[in-house]
Symmetry: C2
Subunit: 333 residues, 2 copies
DNA sequence: GCAGGTCATCGAAGCGCTTCGACGCGAAGG
DNA sequence: CCTTCGCGTCGAAGCGCTTCGATGACCTGC
């Protein structure tokens, strides 16, 4: 059973190869009757265009690269949601997704771009001083970044507006009348890596708190139960008047609740807790967490859209910040 | 800056195009001096073979599809580890990975295979009666499954030996002198989906317990703290003599520990807990969990190896079961 | 010293597709 | 009635690579 080529379809439909091509691509007008005949032949023969040949002739592979940071400290569920939405959205644009890990580094990007394996690149978890950024600027292939490097000039970046997310949490706690609040962030290594989003959340939080005239404190937070417990205890000891806690660390969110329980503080009666995390985590916690969600799906969809627009030659905004949304649940009052 | 082609390299090195090709592929003997000259030109010009052209001419895309079940109820960290190891291993064989979601279904598989976008397929989370399995049998492209469908005849399947994993837990508890034990499994929907691994673990556990003459109980378990708490409480009420607990549910493992703490049972003094989960989860728990790890990396690596072997035309075993390994930590005695 | 055999290299024929220019034909315009 | 135009279709030229058969150059052995 040899694989069906466009020539087979052409013969079966009694037209030229080029006509079949035009029917399929819609790049030239074809009469309705011919179109139908060709389409029927395609169906009957079960024709699927050969991807390599198409890429070679059209200089478009219809594949985009997705570069994921498959390493420690990441927020897996969010990453997964993101990947899913990228794949799904890309398919809507008739593109496929090539999965790459960040540790292939700049060479890897260069390789897939230069070999025309992909038409464009989507990078996640960009760092403040990312060695891949200069390369991206040089590459002929368009790219979209999730997150912001130090200098986003000439790039296309998408992200949740983390500063606003931090601020939103502080605003919410201020509205509820809290006067002394704190933020527990990502593990220390995330800050050291300089990924940006963690800092921006802290900054947004602290600024907003200050604007409200509140006492605010922000510090990194590891992910094991014991360390979370210790951190919460320390915080409570140092700041007896503390009544509002923001957790920007998905793995730690559940542990914070556990620690407070053990330390004899009721949520939300004694301490209000607000998390910055995906909705499913917030809903599953007990009590359900008031949270600012990380709209992973939106980010993925938006990133693909921007990339597709760039592939069409359109110009797109350098920076797209997604508005955070606060959902009030049982953990704050 | 036009992209560099093999013809440019040939001209630069003063040889024929075919000679360059043979140098690069090693499929014919080339003198050391010529080889070096060509290699130098490749480096100087920064040549990268065009993937489409290569695929077209050689009928090998050097890309494999990875079909992931990006949906609820899955164990994300394990999935991620698995994906990482697949990508990394594939790169070692000079292959790239096309990411697909399971909800593209059989059509999707057919599409990427028929279009020669990929040379082979790796499917995760295969179900007992998976509609994609018949298609896989028909496909010219080789495939490897993670997990087992009802009838693995003619396929290539890799998985952790879950029956042995369950048995290993029972053995361990028997060795420690426990007489009454129970297993808390995956959420009910996982069993309903008939993915197989959950059942096999239960069966292995129950069989081994019976062999040891122990009283054993096995039931599904949801993932929220409240439901876990309720399940543990119920179990303890029904079976006052229960002293050993096996948890085959990564999300629930931490909650089980929390529930036992609240219910006033010390671990491991009153109840020994053994988890079937990745090492990092087990280590992060408090107390650290004795666990049988799910060797996601091994599975990924092994799956890619098998696929590569099939791509080379070798015949490989239909079924590869990876031996589970028990690591004793603080939660059992 | 020449047939026979290696070894290294070359040239050309595709691989399956897109795209460009050309062409025939009927309709519209003068 | 003849030109002009545009629509629908065709043929052919690549796209960049692999691979097969052919060709010398050189060595071996009798």
């Amino acid at each position: 059973m040899r694989t069906v080529t466009i020539a087979d379809v052409a013969k079966h439909a009694g037209v030229a190869v080029s006509t079949v091509s035009y029917v399929l691509s819609g790049k030239r007008a074809i009469s309705a009757t011919t179109r139908q005949r060709v389409l029927d032949s395609v169906r009957v023969l079960g024709y699927h265009p050969n991807a390599g040949a198409r890429a070679l002739a059209s200089k478009r592979a219809k594949v985009i690269a997705l570069v994921l940071p498959l390493r420690a400290g990441m927020n897996l569920p969010v990453l997964m949601q993101f990947a899913t939405s990228v794949v799904t959205t890309a398919r809507q644009y008739d593109h496929d997704v090539l999965l790459m890990t960040a540790d292939e580094g700049a060479d890897g990007l260069h390789r897939v771009a230069a070999s025309a394996l992909v038409d464009g690149l989507l990078l996640m978890d960009v760092e403040i001083h990312d060695p891949r950024v200069p390369l991206l600027r040089k590459l002929a292939e368009p790219s979209v970044l999730i997150g912001f490097p130090a200098d986003p000039e000439g790039l296309t970046c998408v992200d949740l507006d983390f500063a606003r997310a931090g601020a939103l949490c502080a605003d919410h706690l201020a509205d509820l009348g809290h006067r002394e609040i704190a933020l527990l962030g990502a593990p220390r290594v995330v800050y050291e890596r300089g990924t940006g989003f963690a800092e921006r959340t802290m900054a947004g939080f602290v600024d907003a708190a200050r604007r409200h005239g509140m006492e605010a404190d922000a510090r990194p937070c590891e992910e094991s139960f014991d360390e979370v417990h210790a951190a919460v205890k320390l915080l409570l000891d140092e700041r007896p008047g503390l009544s509002g806690l923001v957790v920007h660390n998905e793995a730690a969110a559940g542990h914070v609740l556990g620690a407070l329980r053990i330390l004899g503080r009721r949520v939300p009666e004694d301490v209000s807790v607000v998390a910055i995390c995906p909705d499913d985590i917030a809903e599953r916690a007990s009590p359900a967490l008031t949270s600012v969600l990380i709209p992973a799906e939106d980010v993925g969809r938006q990133a693909v859209r921007l990339l597709m627009a760039k592939l069409e030659g359109q110009t797109v905004p350098e920076s797209t910040l997604l508005e955070p949304r606060l959902t009030i649940r049982e953990s704050s009052r």
